[in-house]
């Protein structure tokens, strides 16, 4: 850190810093000006976020710790969940291995890709956009299934068409922990990519340039300057992806079960589908996951404790200048193409191929001669397709906007104020990530069925559900962006007479826009495929695209589903490209280059 410290104030001596403007002011002002815009906005955001998180958590805790007869507190649910023949030790190890591996793979891929995209003069920049989004858009069921068709040890296309003829062996086995890590890691890498792109954009390259001028090698600069500077985003991404993998079910269900690789979510699935449903045991598993996640959140705030080290957005203007790759340019170019082929072209090609068949079969003269557009016709003939698309759009845009606005404010409270309970708020906002979708659905149904407001049975309940579910993601994106911002900008604004609201709207939000837009895009895209709580909460006439996908899947129409998947990929790519273009037009810094 010596190089960084040399270029800025010593972080070990915070007393020299002027106190952040809002630190002592928040509580005082909250008390003094009870109805000011700031109080309303900050207080409102905190209450809404707290409310969103507490409802499912309260429901979960109630079901987990209360006796079967409802008379007292009991830990029976934990012994049912973890005791007996549940093999919880093995499952925990499998889960951790799978989650750590996937998060590591996604982090390495996403970060590398983001660095190359933002900071170098790599060729084929336009491919990054697709490479970063397509795996995110393709529903998990389809992405995993595509990889089964590619990587099955016997009949997978990679083995049958590539390795067998070349080497005489079939080395790829998708039904292994490595296979699971591969698919999950690729599917998650956009999370890291989006976060890291935002972080690299907000980083002043002059720090790296100074280091290079002082004689540091390229590797040293990367290791000592670049990586430490994007640490908040790195940690946020790692945490998100680790917990998301722990909680994910599609990949373990489709790939892990084959060879008896059970993870925690397999157990949650088991207890939730049995009747009478053991909500206590499901809750006990979720609380186990919650403890791991809480440890993760605490670890991440500990790692970010010397926050000034990461504040790269300061009052000083900077213009990011790409690193010239020089002789490495063709190598990087080839690597980009290979990555693009593996993560986008291969699985999407399988989808496109499947979407043109009546039923899936490996390519042969027979199948290739009978290709048809019938599946697309069926997609467009679906009576609910238009309604579902409209509802998904409303919900996706609504949830993304609400969550990012809320979390921008709340991350300010968590990172910029000394308010007591801010860590708890941070932790609370993270809890929905481990609550199984079905439990979230049950909790919301429980609450809103008993509320006189017309929310149950409308799109609003789905909006509440999506806002809750994606709150943790919004928080990570927002706080990673906020952590990079030096308080001196707010101080300058305050000194110049700006109100808190003006500072927030005119200074903070625009400067955080990279991170906020990344989070917005992420939530927009993933809300299109949210199913686990949707399936319980949607009402007839309020169908969304993920319900249609589920229906096609249940119908056994994989080929129609593939056609629907291809349409979704096209639609969301266009939508996100538009969002970036609009973002660029309205002055979001440095966005234009991501979509070209």
């Amino acid at each position: 850190m010596a190089l960084i410290s040399a270029s800025r104030k010593d972080p070990a001596a915070p007393s020299q810093d002027p106190p952040p403007p809002s630190r002592p002011g928040l509580l005082t002002r909250l008390r003094r000006k009870r109805l000011s815009a700031q109080t309303l906005l900050v207080g409102g955001a905190v209450i809404v976020v707290g409310y969103l998180a507490v409802v499912p958590l309260g429901y979960l805790i109630h079901d987990t710790f209360l006796d079967a007869d409802g008379s007292g507190v009991s830990l029976d649910a934990f012994s049912r969940a973890y005791g007996g023949n549940s093999q919880s030790g093995d499952m925990l190890l499998n889960s951790l291995w799978f989650a750590l591996g996937s998060a590591a793979l996604a982090l390495i891929l996403g970060t590398t890709l983001a660095y190359i995209q933002v900071r170098t003069d790599t060729p084929f920049k336009s491919l990054f956009f697709a490479a970063s989004l397509v795996p995110l858009i393709v529903p998990g069921i389809l992405y995993s299934t595509s990889w089964i068709f590619l990587g099955d040890p016997q009949s997978g296309l990679l083995n049958a068409l590539l390795f067998k003829p070349l080497t005489g062996t079939s080395p790829v086995n998708i039904y292994s922990v490595w296979g699971m890590i591969w698919v999950q890691g690729l599917h998650l890498s956009p999370v890291a990519f989006l976060l890291m792109v935002a972080a690299f954009r907000a980083m002043d390259p002059s720090l790296e340039e100074s280091a290079a001028m002082s004689g540091a090698s390229r590797l040293t600069v990367l290791r000592r300057i670049t990586v430490p500077l994007v640490r908040p985003a790195l940690i946020s991404a790692a945490l998100l992806m680790f917990v998301q993998s722990l909680e994910s079910f599609e990949v373990p269900a489709l790939l892990g079960l084959q060879n008896g690789i059970y993870v925690f979510t397999s157990r949650i699935y088991f207890v939730l589908r049995s009747y009478p449903t053991d909500y206590g045991a499901a809750g006990a598993y979720a609380i186990g996951l919650l403890l791991i996640a809480a440890a993760g959140v605490l670890l991440s705030s500990w790692l970010q404790r010397s926050s000034r080290n990461f504040q790269t957005v300061t009052g000083k203007a900077f213009r990011p200048r790409p690193v010239e790759l020089g002789r490495a340019r063709p190598v990087v170019g080839v690597a980009v193409i290979v990555y693009f082929l593996i993560t986008v072209v291969l699985p999407v090609a399988v989808l496109v191929y499947a979407s043109l068949l009546k039923y899936y079969a490996a390519p042969s003269a027979e199948t290739l001669s009978s290709l048809t557009f019938d599946n697309y016709r069926q997609v467009f003939d679906m009576p609910l397709a238009f309604t579902a698309l409209k509802n998904s759009l409303i919900l996706g845009l609504g949830a993304a906007t609400v969550v990012m606005l809320l979390t921008a404010v709340v991350s300010w409270v968590v990172l910029r104020t000394k308010a007591r309970g801010r860590r708890l708020l941070d932790l609370l906002a993270f809890t929905p990530i481990v609550i199984p979708g079905l439990v979230l659905g049950l909790a919301l149904a429980f609450v809103y069925l008993r509320m006189p407001l017309p929310i149950y049975g409308t799109l609003l309940i789905l909006l509440v559900s999506y806002c809750t579910r994606y709150l943790p993601y919004g928080m990570r994106y927002s706080s990673a962006a906020m952590a990079q911002m030096a308080p001196e900008l707010e101080e300058s604004a305050a000194v110049s007479g700006a109100s808190w609201f003006q500072t927030f709207r005119r200074v903070l939000l625009p400067l955080m826009s990279s991170g906020i837009l990344a989070g917005w895009v992420y939530i927009l895209v993933v809300s299109f495929r949210e199913l686990s709580s949707t399936i319980l909460l949607y009402s007839p006439g309020k169908e969304v695209l993920s319900v249609l996908i589920w229906e096609q899947f249940e119908n056994g129409q994989f080929t129609t589903l593939a056609a629907l998947g291809v349409c979704m990929v096209l639609l969301l790519v266009v939508l996100v490209a538009l969002a970036y273009r609009l973002g660029a037009r309205f002055g979001l810094q440095g966005q234009a280059d991501s979509s070209n």
């Binding site: 958590l57 009747y275 079969a361």
Partner: protein, 370 residues
């Protein structure tokens, strides 16, 4: 806790509020609705006049009613359309898997909120709804056509899901097909079978069948261990069928025959019958059924739907390759199969015992307790 701190106080308040609000989260006994007066009015008439009365009463219900079902969309949609065509009553359909249908119905009835008027779903969930006293009894003449095994206190079987092995005809050649459930334990199927992770009702039925025919528990345990040793595990019957059609897997220990038939109808190389056209594997027909909610807002329409599903609706099911619960001319779905009774008693109130046993078997661990 220092409640003077606003954030913490807000969080604490919210926690307390939410926890107290959740005070009755999923009580063990669901509240049953009162017996609906409309059902009583219809039931009081002679059977031949009931349908007419229901039609008359349904007119005052707004010409629409809500059905919760686990029928897949490609079945539920034509069924709903045909009902609307026959009766003029529009069906608002909520589709979910059977667990979701059950959860939603239970939750809504506990909150005393009107949701479904009628439910059509799987055996186990229908039993649960009936146990929770949410369903009203039906006494219409349509019941006369249903076999005794398809009639239950407050619900009636509409269709049967037949448990039978299925295979890819390119990978399992004539003569290689299983001729009994015991065959699945044969080493010739090593690595070629797929088991579905939630098929505990099939597991119970085969076990029960073997016990009834004099096999000892030890023999049965051995057979299951060998079957599991031959197999891989997958999730979802339709997912499995997709891998079977693509030749990814050669054989499924059990899939519902209608899924195989529908796949074969689209040209996929899959079947459940050997070349002779006659299977000797005992096939278990699981009843899926219909029930009408006591709390229905459109009870006369729900009654009509119940009645229709057991009469005209049965023909509709045959057209969709499903197995109806009554005898319908032109139904070929049972041709070539050797049917044996589904173990209704063993699975009606098993409290999840067979789920746990099957789960333990697949994971290769001993079952603990009952």
């Amino acid at each position: 806790m220092r409640s003077r701190t606003p954030i913490f106080a807000a969080a604490a308040l919210l926690s307390a509020g939410a926890l107290s609000g959740c005070g009755g989260a999923l009580p063990n006994a669901a509240a049953g609705g009162k017996e609906n007066a409309v059902y009583a009015e219809i039931a009081a008439l002679p059977k031949e006049k009931q349908r007419e009365k229901a039609r008359e009463l349904a007119k005052d219900e707004g010409g629409t009613f809500t059905l919760y079902t686990s029928m897949t969309a490609d079945i539920a949609t034509p069924v709903a359309k045909a009902f609307e065509k026959d009766t003029g009553i529009h069906v608002t359909v909520f589709r979910g898997n059977s667990e979701t249908v059950l959860q939603r119905t239970l939750q809504e009835s506990q909150a005393r909120r009107a949701g479904a008027d009628a439910v059509e779903t799987n055996f186990r969930e229908m039993v649960a709804l009936s146990d929770n006293k949410l369903l009203a009894a039906f006494h219409g003449s349509a019941l006369d056509k249903v076999e005794k095994t398809g009639k239950f206190a407050t619900w009636t079987a509409t269709r049967l899901n037949i448990f039978h092995p299925a295979w890819n005809t390119r990978l399992i050649k004539p003569g290689e097909e299983p001729t009994s459930w015991e065959d699945l334990a044969d080493p010739r199927y090593k690595g070629r079978i797929t088991l579905e992770v939630s098929d505990s009702d099939w597991f119970e039925n085969v076990t029960h069948y073997w016990l009834e025919r004099g096999k000892s528990e030890a023999e049965i345990d051995q057979l299951w261990k060998k079957i599991v040793a031959n197999s891989k595990v997958a999730k979802g019957h339709t997912t499995m069928m997709q891998f079977l059609t693509s030749g990814q897997t050669p054989m499924e220990a059990m899939n519902y025959t209608y899924i195989t038939t529908r796949s074969a109808a689209s040209g996929a190389p899959v079947t459940f019958l050997p070349k002779s056209g006659k299977s000797t594997v005992p096939a278990f027909p699981r009843p899926n059924g219909v029930g009408m909610l006591k709390s229905a807002q459109h009870p006369a329409s729900a009654w009509l739907f119940y009645d229709w599903m057991l009469t005209e609706g049965q023909k509709e099911l045959v057209g969709l390759h499903l197995t109806p619960s009554t005898k319908v001319p032109g139904d070929k779905s049972l041709d070539g199969l050797t049917l044996v009774p589904f173990d209704v008693k063993g699975l009606s109130h098993d409290q999840g015992t067979w789920d746990r046993k099957y789960d333990a078997l697949l994971r290769g661990v001993d079952t603990v307790g009952k």
